[in-house]
Structure formats: C-alpha cells, structure tokens
Point group: C2
DNA sequence: ATTAAGTAAGTGAACATTCACACACAAAGA
DNA sequence: TCTTTGTGTGTGAATGTTCACTTACTTAAT
C-alpha cells in the first residue's frame, strides 16, 4: 500500500486535471501530457486507471485523517475542537483545490464497487473524527441534546459539503475559508446550549 | 421550449439509465436500447446529447417548481409549509429515483457551461421556494434569529442534499421518506425559537 | 548484465454523430 | 377517387475521434 514519489506525482497530476477539466477530462492521455511523458509510461507506475483513482482516494483518506487528528489534538474544549476541525478542512481544500472534485464528485468511474467503497471510507473518516467531539460536547453540556447526535453530525457534514459544492460550481470565486467558517459558526450557534 | 411526448419518453429513459449505470452509462447507444429503437432515431428528437441532458434538467426544474408551489400553497403556517416542502421533495425522489443521479451528480457532461447553469438554476428554484417560508417564519417569531437567514437556508439545503447523496450511495436501501423527514424535523427543532 | 523507466506505434472497443434511404400517413390537386 | 407531394419517424452502415491498454524496443544507472 506504499506510494512511490512518482506515483504521488501522478496522483497530484490527476487531481489537477480533475479541477481543470472535470471527471471526463481525467484520461490517461491528459495524465501523460500533464506528467510530460508518454501514455505508456503511466502503466509503469499503475496497472490501470482505476488503480490511480483508488490510490488518490486512499492517499486523500490518509492525509485527511492525519491532519484532522492533529488539528483536534492541538485544542482542548469541544467547541474549539469543533471549530479547528472544519477550519482545517477548509484550509486544506483551499490550498489543494484540485482535490475538491475528487472528493465531491460521484461517477468517477463507471460502476466501480471499489471506488464507491473508497468514497464511503472517506465519509467514514470525517465521522470518526467528528463524532467524539460532538459526544464530548454533549456530555459536558455544551451542545444541545434536543436532537440525536447522529442528526447533528449529518447536518454538519451536509452543510460542509454544500459549501464545497457551491464553491466549485461558482469556480472558486469566493473565499471558502471565510464563507465556510462563517457557515460552520452558524451551525455551532444553533446546536449550542444557550 | 415545449417538450413532445416522445422527447419526454427519452428524458425518462435517460433518467432510468443514470440510476442503473451512472453518468458514464448514459450513452446514445444505451439510450436507444432503452427506447427500443436505433441510435440514429434519437437524433430525430434531439440534436445532441447535451440537449437531452439540458431538456432533462429543464423538465425537472419546471416540475419541481410547480410541485413545490402547490405543496406550499396547500398549507398555512410557516412551520407546516416548511415540513410540507421537504416532505414533497423526498416523496418525489422516492417515486422517481432515476432523477436522483441527475440532480445530485456533477460531471454530467464535460465542461458544459449551459449544464452548469441548468444545475445552478435548479438550486435557485429551491431557494426561491424556501426563502419566503423562512422569512415569514422569522417575522412571525417562529424561527430563530440568531443566525442569518441565508445560513439557515444553506444548512437546510445541505442537510437535504447529503441525505439524498447517502441514499444513493447506499443503493436506495433505506426509506428516504422516513429518514429524510426525520432529519428535516431535527433541523426544525434546532432553528425553532424555544 | 540486469533492471528500472522511458518511448513509438500500435490494438480493438466505444463514443457521438451523420448519411442515404424506407415506410406510414395526411393533405391537396386532378 | 386516384395520385402527387410533403412530413414525421424509423433503419443500418459508416464517419472520425477518443478511449484504456499492449507490445516491442531503447536508454541509462546500478
């Protein structure tokens, strides 16, 4: 499951293409052009296109997980952890816009069971990091207990995803750090105990 | 901008294919097979594949708008309108699952400006119907005024979209009417003035 | 001398689209 | 009442392009 430096380059080239040309632009030909070598050379590093996409999602899953854990560990109170987590997410996708399409597109490859699973796994990583924060917050009486924890989680994740979706649809025109964090603070206001 | 019965049949066949085979499965060949006639016959009714997708989004926009207006007009209080609106949405997509992929996918066609616009227009229709409800609710003191109206709207839309996304990702396994409406009620609980 | 990492030149399949043509039916003129 | 002409809707075969992927060969470093 280890990734060579060359493979990482290819993964990042794939992300770049996804941003500029969308899902249908991600072809071996374009990938080779972006890497400045021939199409056949791609196959020295990956056995298929599906493997490239899977490696990209895998790589994203690992880095997102590490980053979130660090961001959360660096803070103390649930409310601060909460804010830190989403701030970290927005900052990451701001600095690596090309991965936005990868994470928030479906239809990356036709009917691929393993890609579907990889996307679900990515969702699972967010849940894994977010849930304990909400749980701790509720136990400490910081977050409202009028709705199920699970629902709080989906409301948050939905709000986050919609902002990313709008950001991309509007061609990254607005400042996602500002807009995104403002949105998350609004959710925080709603779920906090008064 | 009028749609012939035959065109409507093709649009519905396209939706069906999207559900079963995803974005990349939507080819003229598959469309012709689903319609049980030749590929070339498709071009008697549409000049291009892009036009088929645009017509589908256009058709969806119109029917969704009409349906939402009716659902909202049939109720009186903001809270009831709110519930009715989302109930109507979930029921619609439950009965016409094949359109779920159409509305909640991006990457329907590469870099098509007009398709991007059509999707934005679809978002606009939800906003157009949702915003007055929230506004009225706030004026009547039913909904919280601790966060901007716009934010409330995006939280709601995000929650709705995420439920639809999960529903599709999990192959329509759970009851979207039940789960979805439960989620929406949770949001309602959060935004209501206590 | 082996191996890792590149290339040029292909492969068949799938893609959207176009072509010449055919058949059913209706309106209109003889 | 025939016959002409036009229109709508279908067909099979072919278009050129792009796709993911393969094969045979080269080069350079270990």
């Amino acid at each position: 499951m280890d990734i060579t430096p060359r493979q990482l380059e290819i993964i990042e080239a794939a992300g770049k293409i996804l941003t500029s040309s969308g899902v249908s632009g991600l072809t071996i030909k374009n990938l080779a052009k972006e890497m400045q070598f021939s199409e056949s050379a791609i196959y020295r590093h990956f056995t298929s296109k599906e493997e490239i996409i899977l490696a990209m999602l895998e790589y994203l899953a690992i880095t997102i997980d590490e980053r979130l854990e660090n961001a959360i560990r660096a803070t103390d109170e649930p409310e601060a952890k909460f804010t830190a987590m989403f701030q970290s997410q927005f900052a990451f996708f701001e600095s690596q816009r090309h991965f936005v399409v990868a994470v928030f597109s479906d239809g990356l490859l036709k009917e691929s069971q393993s890609i579907n699973e990889a996307i679900l796994k990515l969702l699972g990583i967010i849940i894994k990091n977010l849930f304990p924060i909400l749980l701790e917050g509720r136990m400490k009486g910081v977050f409202s207990d009028t709705v199920p924890l699970e629902d709080l989680m989906y409301i948050l994740m939905g709000t986050f995803r919609l902002q990313m979706f709008r950001w991309r649809l509007e061609d990254f025109q607005f400042d996602i750090n500002e807009t995104g964090n403002k949105m998350i603070q609004s959710v925080l206001t709603l779920i906090k105990n008064k």
